[in-house]
């Protein structure tokens, strides 16, 4: 099976995620798009892991696991932020947040 199958799939997902980050205004949706990006990375990592697996190298899996963990943390904090912002401002549209005062 071609490794490129997985890699291209990863690339497609990544770009869709990028598109989402750029286009979406709702903070939750932007977070979701970021999750897409992270997942695409994971697919790549595992595909490479498989490529090198014969030589006993499974760093890819380790990395993927770490990414999942970090992603979980990120979503937790991110959503907490969104909640906080929503409580204070009654909106989570990102453009309304562009006037953060220092």
């Amino acid at each position: 099976m071609l490794i490129n199958n997985f890699l291209v799939l990863g690339a497609v997902l990544f770009c869709i995620g990028v598109y989402g980050v750029i286009v979406r205004k709702n903070a939750v949706l932007v977070l979701m798009s970021i999750e897409l990006i992270l997942n695409s990375v994971n697919i790549n990592l595992l595909a490479f892991d498989r490529l090198w697996a014969e030589s006993g190298n499974n760093d890819g899996s380790v990395f993927a696991l770490y990414i999942i963990a970090v992603a979980a943390a990120e979503v937790g904090v991110g959503l907490a932020l969104v909640l906080l912002i929503f409580r204070n401002r009654k909106t989570i549209a990102l453009d309304d947040l562009s006037e953060m005062k220092g």
Binding site: V21, D95, S98
Partner: protein, 726 residues
């Protein structure tokens, strides 16, 4: 630091320590700045002491140089330098390089600076910036002496610019008034325009000769065989600097305005020393100009230097006729005389031109100081000859006497110093086959006498008017008719010297009880005496060639022998001087005198003469051209356009990229913003949230845009990487 060269050691203490001459005033400058205010005499004592010390060393240097010249066949410049900085093969030293020319100017500057400082103690007494005044004067002397001593172009530029700075500070000494600060700025800018040439020219010299050492440049330029066009370019560029500094046409306009400064400043900087820096530069690098501009080539009757000098002689003399401000008459006279010097250098008469620097310094300085003395004591701090002067000769005998001697010297009356230098220039122009400039010189001599006669008449003869009347004790008499030339400058009438108390403080000399105090009259007498005798250092009619003997090694190239003096040759110029005097006196009597003459009010009656007069009064409209057209167009439309471009086009692009919507032109902007974006917004029925302003749609979603920018840049970057690597 290493001693780069030490030819000086053997030649005598003064020659080896000539570097002290500028260093002493430079140190004095800092002393005055930091401690001057606490001293009883406000720092002037430091300044005068420093200048005296400099004068002593300069005199010693001059003595030893003369001794050196006398003892050897061909005296080379004595230089002593330490390495200033080194970049690769370019080694620039700082130190002293004494030769005849430098020696002469060292002495001159130190001498006149000393006198002027003594004069100033009285003249600016009680001024609110007395200390600053002396500090600036001292710094100026340091700068000028640094330049004169320069062994290389870099030190020369250093001194040159320090002088410019001091000129700026001193012209604008009374900066509370706008006119003064404007004049200071004008002076600095105009000179700076010329300095462009100095920078570029130095660059060309470096490229041509690989060195900035003056001796080396001169040697190599004298036997130059490379790209002549490039050398000519260098010469022209450097000459532009001289035009700016020495008030040559067409950059002379700053010099008359510079009279806004206190009179001692005018007499020191703007007549006798600083303004000759341009002439000095030409004389210093004479081989460059000589070779580059084809001076003394048989069959060439014109060259740039001579042409500019010649034009300057005539136009400035023309302008001197219509001035009412005595200082402005002298200022134009200075410009005209500087024109003589340039013309002299241009026609290959190096020695007479340099000699003219020497003699001119004394008599012109003296004239300015006389004008100051008149204003200080006689005319109630006014410089307006028509309103506040007249009939002062009896009351101010010393001032009058020295003025007359200096005027005679300036006019070139035989046996006065100016005769021996100016007449030599005119003679050499003829001898070196520059016929046109011979004629120009003669006309100039005529005009000089004429306007000086007018100024003398107005100041010292006739009836006392205004401030002078008060001083002389006559009642103010308004019955005298207004002069025929009515177009006096507004700026002339006021704005000068009315800042200090109107009381005369110092003690006058006993034999002239009404004249100015001794601090003023003593320098006047010294200078007047020198104006009388200085010419005998190089008096061709009497076969005295001391000056030539001391200085000729500084020329650097072969110039034609000065034509042998014959009284017969001098006859035309003497006759013209006499004619100028006679004609002018007659006209003055008629116009300004008591009687009723048909000449009065002629310019109002005759359209042609009126137009000519107006043309002169408006200084050939050059100032209008510079200020109204050139400067204003740079200062306003051009810079505004540049700034507009910056804000709208360049920044527009940036903002356009950054905000994603605002494109380069207004049109596109409108189209997208109003048409497309707003259309979408309207369509979706949420206009309310976006009604805040036209920019709202583009400003919103910043965070996403940054994402877009980041990813976009990454994508482009990756693409470049791929392309590079494939």
């Amino acid at each position: 630091m290493l001693l780069a060269s030490e030819t000086a050691a053997a030649s005598g203490w003064f020659l080896a320590h000539a570097w002290l001459i500028p260093v002493i005033p430079a140190v004095a400058f800092f002393l005055i700045i930091f401690f001057g205010k606490r001293l009883p005499r406000g720092g002037s004592e430091i300044g005068i002491a420093a200048m005296l010390a400099s004068l002593v060393i300069a005199s010693g240097t001059a003595y030893q140089w003369i001794h050196l010249v006398g003892s050897t066949e061909h005296a080379d410049a004595v230089s002593k330098t330490v390495t200033w900085f080194e970049i690769g093969s370019l080694k620039v030293g700082i130190g002293s390089r004494i030769d005849g020319l430098a020696m002469m100017l060292l002495f001159l500057v130190a001498f006149i600076s000393t006198l002027v400082q003594i004069y100033s103690t009285e003249y600016v007494r009680g001024d609110r910036r007395y200390t600053h005044f002396f500090a600036s004067l001292t710094l100026f002397s340091a700068g000028m002496l640094t330049m004169v001593l320069a062994p290389n172009m870099v030190q020369l530029i250093l001194g040159w610019e320090i002088m410019g700075l001091c000129s700026f500070m001193l012209i604008g000494h009374w900066w509370e008034e706008r006119a003064n600060s404007e004049a200071a700025l004008k002076a600095f800018w105009t000179v700076r325009v010329g300095d462009m040439g100095l920078l570029v020219g130095t660059g060309v010299l470096l490229a041509l000769f690989g060195n900035l050492d003056i001796s080396e440049i001169n040697t190599k330029a004298a036997e130059f065989s490379g790209n002549h066009a490039l050398l000519a370019f260098a010469a022209v560029a450097l000459f532009i600097a001289c035009i700016g500094k020495s008030g040559q046409f067409p950059l002379h306009t700053w010099l008359p305005d510079a009279m806004a400064g206190p009179t001692p400043v005018s007499s020191l900087l703007h007549s006798s020393t600083m303004v000759v820096a341009g002439v000095f530069l030409v004389a210093r690098l004479y081989p460059v100009f000589h070779t580059g501009l084809d001076i003394n080539i048989v069959g060439h009757h014109f060259n740039l230097i001579a042409i500019i000098g010649g034009i300057t002689v005539l136009i400035a003399a023309g302008l001197a006729f219509v001035q009412n401000d005595i200082k402005k008459v002298l200022a134009y006279s200075t410009v005209s005389q500087l024109g003589y010097m340039m013309m002299g250098l241009g026609v290959g008469a190096w020695m007479p031109a340099v000699f003219h620097i020497f003699t001119h310094a004394f008599f012109k300085c003296c004239l300015f100081l006389c004008a100051g003395s008149v204003a200080h004591t006689g005319s109630h701090h006014s410089f307006d000859m028509k309103k506040d002067m007249g009939g002062l000769r009896k009351k101010m005998p010393i001032t009058f006497g020295t003025w007359m001697i200096s005027t005679a010297a300036l006019c070139g009356v035989p046996f006065f110093s100016g005769f021996f230098s100016k007449d030599e220039i005119i003679d050499s122009a003829k001898g070196n086959d520059y016929k046109v400039f011979f004629v120009v010189g003669l006309i100039g001599a005529f005009m000089t006498t004429a306007y000086m006669t007018r100024a003398t008449y107005l100041t010292f003869f006739g009836k006392a008017r205004g401030g002078a009347a008060h001083f002389v004790g006559e009642h103010e008499d308004h019955s005298h008719e207004e002069a025929h030339d009515e177009g006096h400058d507004k700026a002339d009438a006021h704005g000068h010297d009315d800042h200090h108390a109107p009381v005369v403080h110092g003690k006058p000399l006993s034999f002239a009880p009404d004249d100015s105090p001794w601090q003023i009259t003593v320098p006047l007498m010294i200078l007047g005496a020198l104006a009388l005798v200085a010419g005998y250092l190089n008096a061709a009619p009497f076969k005295i060639e001391k000056f030539h003997e001391w200085l000729h090694s500084s020329i650097g190239v072969e110039v034609p022998e000065a034509p042998k003096f014959e009284w017969l040759n001098a006859v035309p110029s003497i006759l013209l001087v006499a004619a100028g005097f006679a004609v002018s006196l007659l006209i003055c009597k008629a116009v300004f005198g008591e009687g009723n003459s048909p000449l009065k009010g002629l310019t109002q009656r005759n359209a042609l003469l009126g137009a000519g007069h107006k043309f002169l009064v408006n200084k050939y409209y050059l100032d209008t051209l510079y200020e109204k057209v050139i400067v204003r167009s740079i200062a306003h439309p051009i810079s505004a356009a540049a700034y507009w471009t910056n804000q709208h086009i360049l920044d527009g692009i940036v903002n356009g990229v950054g905000k994603g919507g605002k494109k380069t032109g207004e049109l596109v902007y409108k189209y997208i913003d109003q048409g497309l974006v707003d259309g979408v917004v309207n369509g979706s029925g949420t206009t309310a949230t976006h009604a805040g302003g036209a920019l709202q749609p583009v400003q919103s979603g910043k965070v996403n845009l940054y994402g877009a920018l980041l990813f976009g840049a990454a994508a482009v970057g990756a693409l470049v990487l791929v392309l590079v690597n494939s």
